[in-house]
């Protein structure tokens, strides 16, 4: 049982880290703002959730567990809301998503999904 929990939490930690890493690569490499927020906004939530659940399985007493649950709730709420707010503010300020017709930045690359 102990072994099983360990393995499970390791898997969760590893996959969470992997998601975070992909998100960061996206943040660094994607061509414009909206693709970047797409990359990080989703992987952030996923990665954070996986890592925190992985840690929860390792929690030694219930207070740690509860605190981790609180962090998870907060990050689920806050990360998604913050991303939404940033994207909305950017859109309102006149930042255009890069589409097929509108690619003034680095036009030689193929646009990724908006």
């Amino acid at each position: 049982m102990e072994m099983l929990l360990d393995i499970l939490s390791w898997i969760l930690l590893a996959s969470g880290s992997f998601f975070c890493l992909t998100g960061a690569v996206g943040l660094l490499r994607f061509p414009d703002f909206f693709t970047r927020i797409h990359a990080t906004g989703i992987t952030d939530t996923m990665g954070a959730g996986l890592i925190l659940i992985g840690l929860m399985l390792q929690a030694s007493n219930w207070i740690v567990f509860v605190k981790l649950v609180i962090i998870l709730l907060f990050s689920l709420l806050a990360a998604a809301t913050a991303c939404h707010a940033i994207a909305k503010a950017a859109l309102k300020s006149g930042l255009k998503p890069r589409t097929k017709d509108n690619r003034e930045i680095e036009p030689e690359e193929q646009p990724s999904k908006p």
Binding site: A14, G16, G47, I51, S75, C83, I86, S93, I105
Partner: protein
């Protein structure tokens, strides 16, 4: 295992930092700050287990809260400032 996770999180934070330095628009920077903050929360949670002390999770909670508040603050103060050109002249 914890060390691996912490290491990857550090790499992620470095990436976010580079984006915050480069960030062609201001929103890229805000996004980078946000990402950086969430990753710091995770890093502290992992570090909590790495160090073997169970008291550090409070700090992670504070980080999650403060990060949210500061992102909202940046947005709010930026949104209502006068119409500024999007691209910064760096």
């Amino acid at each position: 295992m914890y060390i691996l996770a912490a290491f990857i999180l550090l790499i992620v934070m470095a990436f976010a930092l580079i984006r915050a330095f480069k960030g062609p628009t201001l929103y890229d920077r805000i996004l980078a700050v946000n990402t950086f903050g969430t990753k710091t929360v995770l890093l502290i949670a992992v570090m909590n287990f790495l160090a073997g002390r169970q008291d550090f999770l409070d700090i992670a909670i504070v980080y999650a809260l403060i990060n949210f508040i500061s992102v909202i603050g940046i947005l709010r103060f930026f949104e209502y400032s006068t119409k500024l050109p999007l691209d910064e002249d760096l």
